[in-house]
Amino acid sequence: AQTVTQSQPEMSVQEAETVTLSCTYDTSENNYYLFWYKQPPSRQMILVIRQEAYKQQNATENRFSVNFQKAAKSFSLKISDSQLGDTAMYFCAFSNTQGGSEKLVFGKGTKLTVNP
């Protein structure tokens, strides 16, 4: 079974600074997807970024980028120029590419606070 581990329950960062959230996962599959979701206090879960395991290039979405290390099964999220609106719970998630098993497996989350 796949597992996702986020080892940082809480983190804080000053506005405009950079912060990196860690995520490791365990799977025997070779092809899969990895995601970072953001859940602000208003609770709507928002997809931040997506990485396909067969792509070596790290995904980037504006201020959000990932460091995907397939051999190490590591998938960290870097937030540059942090903004107050980035305050939220961040969940790392794994999804198999095999049909019939497309549930998302989530980590426990990291609570990020951006301080003014």
């Binding site: 979701y37 609770r43 709507q44 997506r50 497996v105």
Partner: protein, 113 residues
């Protein structure tokens, strides 16, 4: 484009009762997923529906059930409610199996007293 919608926002039930939660996916999405977000337990996969069929089920008892309608909206039913069923229930939809991207609704907060 309208996002995933869920109703009701809040639901209060007593132990032993039944709860029905509803979800409307993004237009064009055929897959609907249900997750339970309970305090201290994180997000747990409940059910996945695609094209009206149940495709996968998480490790939950049979009193958690659901269905998907021809318009791809979905219903989650929880029978014989227990106190530990109190949680935020999130629905997500997906445009198709190959992308694996899931877009979430705002959730239904179920409280069992």
């Amino acid at each position: 484009e309208a996002g995933v919608t869920q109703s009701p926002t809040h639901l209060i039930k007593t132990r032993g009762q039944q709860a029905t939660l509803r979800c409307s996916p993004i237009s064009g999405h055929t897959s609907v997923y249900w997750y339970q977000q309970a305090l201290g337990l994180g997000l747990q996969f409940l059910l996945w529906y695609d094209e009206g069929e149940e495709r996968n089920r998480g490790n939950f008892p049979p009193r958690f059930s659901g269905r998907q309608f021809p318009n791809y909206s979905s219903e989650l039913n929880v029978n014989a409610l227990e106190l530990e069923d109190s949680a935020l229930y999130l629905c997500a939809s997906s445009p198709g199996t190959w992308k694996n991207e899931q877009y979430f609704g705002p959730g239904t907060r179920l409280t069992v007293t």
